[in-house]
Subunit: 453 residues, 2 copies
């Protein structure tokens, strides 16, 4: 077999890069669990009729076929299955399937791969990992859960070693109420047109609001003014009021959006911020209130790196409706570009903190015992692969990023441990010595684009 080449759209990491992804997944999971979110993992496949319900993504599905079913497609039930393209469709199915066994309101997080048969491009993959949190209830889901999922995701994101992330929030009731109160003949049409603001200049969108949205020049202008409003706190409410539109749904939307933004405010900082962003619509029809989008500073070309919102009918079996609110965060979407550009990495190719040196092959059992004593106290340790000269063994550790080399003492002499970064070497007891806490797991290393250029 000749050397294989990477598969476009199916990113993989080297061990020292995978460390970053593992730590990100671990930190996200820890925060979600601190807030009582239970982990769920769903199978990779769903029946095709489930996957095709979201019209716009139907073409991106990978369909499964058993090889032995070749030429006999109809007889093979697997022909009706495809790989899931997100974690929302499988979760909605899971909720319906297990409704009798779940306790509602049900908080769940899910960190899994999904697949889309898209043309791969940077930040768009055919296989990718994402982290979703959702709260789903039976019949009714109180609004305070919108604030909760926003705050939980905000807390989780603010702990990640990434460029500054921004959680943009808006509310469909707010914009729909505004357009209705303004007298727009078709508020949904206005939403669709306003949604083009990230692709078209404002004056062009203004023209469309008149020609296609059926608005007057003044109405169109006020819609554009609304879309320009953004704020890191509830001060946006006053800015909206200045536009002079009155509507009950608008009022509900303003109050809800203010609650979400204020609920996340304490998490605003250098690495994370929340913003009421009144141009945000998220085209998808099923959002009915709060909508979210996550952006990463300096990586605007990725567009959003996450999103979500409130859907009053996440799932329904005809009799019972299950409303939900949730946010999805793109782990591959953010990590792959950062890691492949060298902006994010770790200082170690192996988990080992210590490598126990080997005087000769005969003393391997002794080195093994030393290693096992260190492991017994939670210190990841490996033994040198071969009894080379100590200088070579140290370089072996160095190449892997292992910070400490341990020299078992011979003939009653004390063991010694050497920090190969500083060169410092001291007597040590394998039953007592502990590395500095910050050396216990590989360290994440970040660079800015400026540093590398």
């Amino acid at each position: 077999m000749s050397k294989p080449t990477p598969l476009s759209g199916f990113p993989e990491f080297l061990p020292e890069q995978r460390v970053v992804e593992l730590q990100v997944i671990e930190r996200l999971g820890r925060t979600f669990e601190l807030h009582g979110f239970a982990n769920v993992e769903t199978r990779a496949v769903e029946p095709m009729d489930q996957l095709l319900r979201k019209g716009e993504t139907s073409k991106e599905v990978y369909v499964l076929r058993r090889l032995q079913a070749e030429g006999d497609v109809d007889a093979d039930s697997a022909a009706q299955f495809g790989l899931h393209f997100d974690l929302t469709v499988p979760f909605a199915r899971y909720v319906l399937e297990n409704a009798g066994k779940l306790e509602f309101p049900f908080r769940r997080y899910q960190i899994q791969k999904a697949w889309r048969g898209e043309r791969p491009q940077e930040g768009r993959f055919r296989e990718f990992t994402q982290a979703d949190i959702d709260v789903v209830a039976k019949d009714e889901l109180p609004f305070h859960f919108d604030v909760e999922v926003a705050r939980v995701m905000a807390e989780a994101l603010s702990a990640l070693p990434l460029p500054p992330l921004k959680l943009r929030v808006n509310n469909r009731k707010l914009i729909q109420g505004f357009y209705a109160g303004l007298g727009a003949p078709d508020p949904s049409a206005v939403i669709r047109i306003i949604d083009k603001l990230d692709k078209l200049p404002a004056d062009k969108v203004g023209e469309l609001l008149v020609s296609e949205g059926g608005l007057s020049e003044d109405q169109a202008s006020r819609c554009l003014q609304l879309a320009e409003i953004s704020a890191a706190d509830s001060s946006f409410v006053e800015q909206v009021r200045v536009l002079g539109v009155e509507d009950d749904l608008l009022e509900t939307g303003l109050a809800e959006l203010a609650a979400v933004v204020e609920g996340c405010r304490s998490l605003n900082g250098d690495r994370f911020s929340v913003e009421a962003s009144l141009s945000l619509a998220r085209g998808l029809d099923y959002y009915t209130g709060t909508v979210f989008e996550i952006h990463m500073e300096g990586f605007e070309f990725l567009k959003s790196v996450g999103g979500g919102g409130r859907y009053d009918a996440l799932a329904s079996d005809g009799r019972t409706t299950y409303p939900g609110v949730g946010i999805s965060f793109g782990i591959s979407r953010t990590l792959v570009p950062l890691i492949h550009r060298g902006l994010l990495g770790s200082d170690r190719k192996v988990p080992s903190v210590v490598m126990v040196a080997l005087a000769d092959e005969e003393s391997r059992p002794h080195s093994d015992v030393v290693a096992q004593r260190l492991r017994a106290r939670g210190v990841p340790t490996e033994v040198a692969a071969a009894p080379q000269k100590f200088g070579k063994q140290i370089r072996y550790a160095e190449r892997r990023g292992i910070p400490f080399v341990w020299f078992p003492g011979g003939d009653g002499g004390a063991d010694q441990v050497k920090d190969i970064r500083s060169g410092e070497q001291v007597d040590a007891d394998a039953d007592a010595w502990t590395p500095p806490a910050e050396d216990l797991v590989p360290r994440i290393i970040t660079h800015t684009q400026e540093e590398l250029s």
Copy 2:
């Protein structure tokens, strides 16, 4: 949408069951990392030509096709991809692809799903999770790594909350040397016939050894005697010597097998044992020395729940050969039957240790602050969903298995926390109170089959 039904062969867990799987994965990973094994995750798909190299599984592969490529299969490159059916084929490809960037000997662990289009049956799934450890080197891999992977997997398995597991070990050099030293015309044919001992009675296998293996009655009898030998220590060596066969390869095999069994001996106990088992052959041609198989007591119908061995050519690019040794453990294979029979579970449907009660909706911000103070010290906490009567709120916690309910004090009164299992209620400070360590994460609960019947 009507209520969906489970998909045969694609097992899923309820949240309180998933907890068990998560903890098993976490414990395995922790042990592997303590021994310096680095985590790797490979993409789910491989080119079909890679997947079809292992002849016997070729029919079980799920082939991927993009939905939009319908009727245009040849033009779609994804038509050449399938889901991996194990973690060895992808790992071999990963090693070749990244050989220049990896440090050898390379210890890696991988815990991922794999897929096979088999007829589903109990313990055989179409989608399943497995945990693999392997050490791979360039050109040469010293034998001591055989002992190491056995010991690492033994240590990992002995820490799992499962029925007793047995690691059976044998060595291809030992049996091949024995058959050759015995004068068998075709030692490989003897291996294939002896391998049928788990399906056929010994006398029938003896007949085949004569009729198809070309052995004399006496030779056949000694082969059967060899296959009967098993031991928890190196005492098997003497039992083999009694059979009076002499051969250099046999000697090497005996020494290697003794080293592996002795290396794991300290881990023998109630829940785990290692056994030299001289009938074990593992049909696969690529094993060249040590072979492993894992069995679970009381679940013999599952056959093996893991296996592996030494392959002197895990991967090769034509110039360089990468020998490896590894063991794979079936997480779904063991957990799904245990969990679905009620033999294994957890005591909580949510990660929350504490539920903060809610006096009325107005005091939600106060309850939120209490919860956040507990979380700040690592205590998973949720706030009651609605300000029902306290009795109802306690039952809400009870249904989820949350052990503690927290009552925020009003008007200067102290907070109180109630252990709803014992009923004990005490004054508590959210900045200081900590639950007992054993309540911090959900507890695994095991039952024996006798208890349930």
